[in-house]
Structure formats: structure tokens, C-alpha cells
């Protein structure tokens, strides 16, 4: 968190898009939250790469949280075309389970049938908000981890606050 902080937008956009695409594609989403953490770590890496000064874990948390929000948007948009495919997959799993169980609870069928219907706009936005909150938390975690992995070291001061940046930017030209 220094004076010459690089812009968060592009790293968050790139990291979030990668995370959102990978977590939205069926089969690839078997890695659960790891894509979000990975995408946020990528955002932190891009932030560090473009930064002339040493950044802190707080910077990582911030860019990671933004990357998580971007990932939630991308994931929700991708979910629209992939939804029926996912539900067909889930339906097959439940059919398999039905072979082992004597009686499949009626709620299961209700749940699946509800999932195959068209998405309401209200539900889309509610799920987007929930995803954004969850992805932002995972993104913040990924961003901090990314900063720990790729960040330049700052010597902490005696009272625990991060020290001054290692490299100072040149002074602005006098006009």
C-alpha cells in the first residue's frame, strides 16, 4: 500500500476472467474453489509485475477480491449456456443413485426439474450477488497467497507496519 500503486483494474480483469472461465466450464469445475484462488494469485502476480514499488499483502487481498468479483460475473454468464449440460450431468448422477436406492425422494426430481427450466432474471442476479460475495472472499485469499508467492519483500518496521518501499519512483518532471 504505497504512494505509487499500480492500477488494479487490468490484473483483476485478467485474473478474474481466467478464474471465471475455468470454474464455469463443466468438468474443469471439479477443482472447486481452487480456480478462484489461482486466478486471484494470477492477478496478484500481474500487479506485482507492473509495480515499480514493493506491494503488501493488503494489496494482494484487494486485487484478489476484485478478481473474485470479475470471476463471479464471468462464471454466472457462462453458466447460462452450460446450465442445461450441467443439469443433464446431475440428472445422470441421480439416475445412477436411483439404481442403488429403493426410493428416490420426490424433492430430488423437483430440484432437477426446477434446474432445467429457464433462468429467471431475479434468480440470476441473486445468484450473481451470492457468487460475487463468496468469490471475493476466496479471491482475497488467493491474492494474499499470490503476494506471498510473487511479491517483493518489504522489511516490516518495529511496530509491525510494513516498511518503506524498496524502490522509489523518479520525481515528476517540473514544468
Amino acid at each position: 500500500m504505497n504512494g505509487q500503486r499500480p492500477r488494479l483494474f487490468m490484473p483483476a480483469l485478467v485474473g478474474g476472467t481466467v478464474a471465471g472461465v475455468l470454474s464455469g466450464i463443466p468438468f474443469l469445475n471439479c477443482l472447486c474453489c481452487l480456480w478462484i484462488i489461482g486466478g486471484a494469485a494470477l492477478a496478484a502476480y500481474l500487479l506485482v509485475k507492473d509495480s515499480p514499488v514493493a506491494l503488501t499483502s493488503g494489496d494482494g487481498a484487494l486485487v484478489g477480491a476484485f478478481a473474485g468479483i470479475v470471476a463471479a460475473v464471468v462464471d454466472s454468464l457462462l453458466a447460462i449456456p452450460f446450465r442445461s449440460m450441467n443439469m443433464a450431468f446431475t440428472k445422470r448422477i441421480f439416475e445412477r443413485l436411483g439404481e442403488y436406492l429403493n426410493e428416490v425422494p420426490s424433492q430430488w426430481n423437483d430440484w432437477i426439474n426446477r434446474g432445467t427450466g429457464p433462468i429467471s432474471i431475479a434468480w440470476f442476479f441473486v445468484s450473481l450477488l451470492i457468487s460475487a460475495a463468496i468469490f471475493a472472499a476466496f479471491g482475497a485469499l488467493g491474492g494474499v497467497l499470490g503476494m506471498a508467492l510473487f511479491g517483493k519483500k518489504t522489511p516490516p518496521t518495529a511496530h509491525g507496519a510494513p516498511g518503506p518501499p524498496q524502490a522509489s519512483p523518479p520525481p515528476p518532471p517540473q514544468s
Binding site: N29, C30, C32, C33, G58, A61, L141, M147, A148, A161
Partner: protein, 157 residues
């Protein structure tokens, strides 16, 4: 002193968050077993971050939990890590733990996940849980440190 109070508040809120998170994971199968209509909503909340494959999940009340065994292990690990966090680090430290520690605990989950994805072997749910737990345990030591640093920055400004 004001900083410390703010940091403790962040800690308490995060701790409550993970408790609610774990509670919701167990609540979903309970509601489902009782036929209470809220359960699809809870399962849906967890669906973007977990594949929820029933065969890879622990069951409660006859129904799968809202997340798979590995994810449950990660969240359980986070909870235990959070309990130990103040004793290991105190509240004011903004120095991240050594990254070698993170890489060491990430190796088992990385290898096991890759091996399962590429069908090299199939791990049982209890082992998935333990591997996830090991990884989750270390995460609060990074996550909370980042949040604390962020809070101190905003406080300073």
C-alpha cells in the same frame, strides 16, 4: 489500541463467517431430509465453488453435504487454523508466514487432485478430507494477515 480493536473485530467476523459457512454445509442435508424447501437454495449457494458430486461427499441425515469431502476438509482446517491464529501470531503481525510452508502443505492436495482428475488413482473421502484439512489449516495465517494489513492501510488513510 484502536487498531487492535479493529483487527479483533475482523478476526471475530471472519470466525463467525466460517462458522456460519460450516453450519450451512450441514444444514443443507438436514433441511433436505425434513423436506423443507430451503435446501435447493443452500446447495445452489455452494454449487459455484464445489462440484457437489454425491459419491465424493460425506452424507448426513441420508443426504450428501453441500460440499465434497475435500472442500469440507479445507473449511474445517480453516476453522481450526483460525482458532489457533491468535496464539501463534497475535493480532498485530502483518508479516506473512514463509511461503515454503504453504508450498509444503499444497503439495499433497496438488498431487492428489491432479491424480484424481487424470484418473491415476481414486482417493477415499476420508483421505480427501484429511488432505483438504492440512491445506485449509494454513490458509487463515495468510488470509487474516492480508485482511489485517488492508484494515491498517484504510485506517491510516
Amino acid at each position: 489500541m484502536r487498531n487492535e480493536r479493529k483487527i479483533i473485530l475482523i478476526y471475530v467476523l471472519t470466525f463467525l463467517g466460517i462458522l456460519i459457512w460450516l453450519g450451512a454445509i450441514g444444514l443443507a442435508p438436514y433441511l433436505r431430509s425434513r423436506g423443507i424447501g430451503l435446501f435447493p437454495f443452500i446447495y445452489a449457494c455452494f454449487s459455484p465453488i464445489c462440484h457437489q458430486n454425491p459419491s465424493r461427499s460425506f452424507h448426513l441425515f441420508g443426504f450428501p453435504l453441500a460440499v465434497c469431502a475435500r472442500c469440507l476438509g479445507i473449511y474445517a482446517g480453516i476453522l481450526v487454523g483460525m482458532v489457533l491464529y491468535p496464539f501463534k501470531r497475535g493480532f498485530l503481525s502483518v508479516r506473512l508466514p514463509k511461503i515454503t510452508l504453504f508450498l509444503a502443505v499444497s503439495t499433497p492436495i496438488g498431487i492428489d487432485t491432479a491424480a484424481n482428475v487424470f484418473a491415476l488413482w481414486s482417493t477415499s473421502n476420508p483421505i480427501r478430507f484429511v488432505i483438504g484439512f492440512l491445506w485449509g489449516f494454513i490458509l487463515p495465517f495468510y488470509f487474516l494477515t492480508g485482511l489485517v494489513e488492508l484494515a491498517l492501510h484504510f485506517h491510516k488513510n
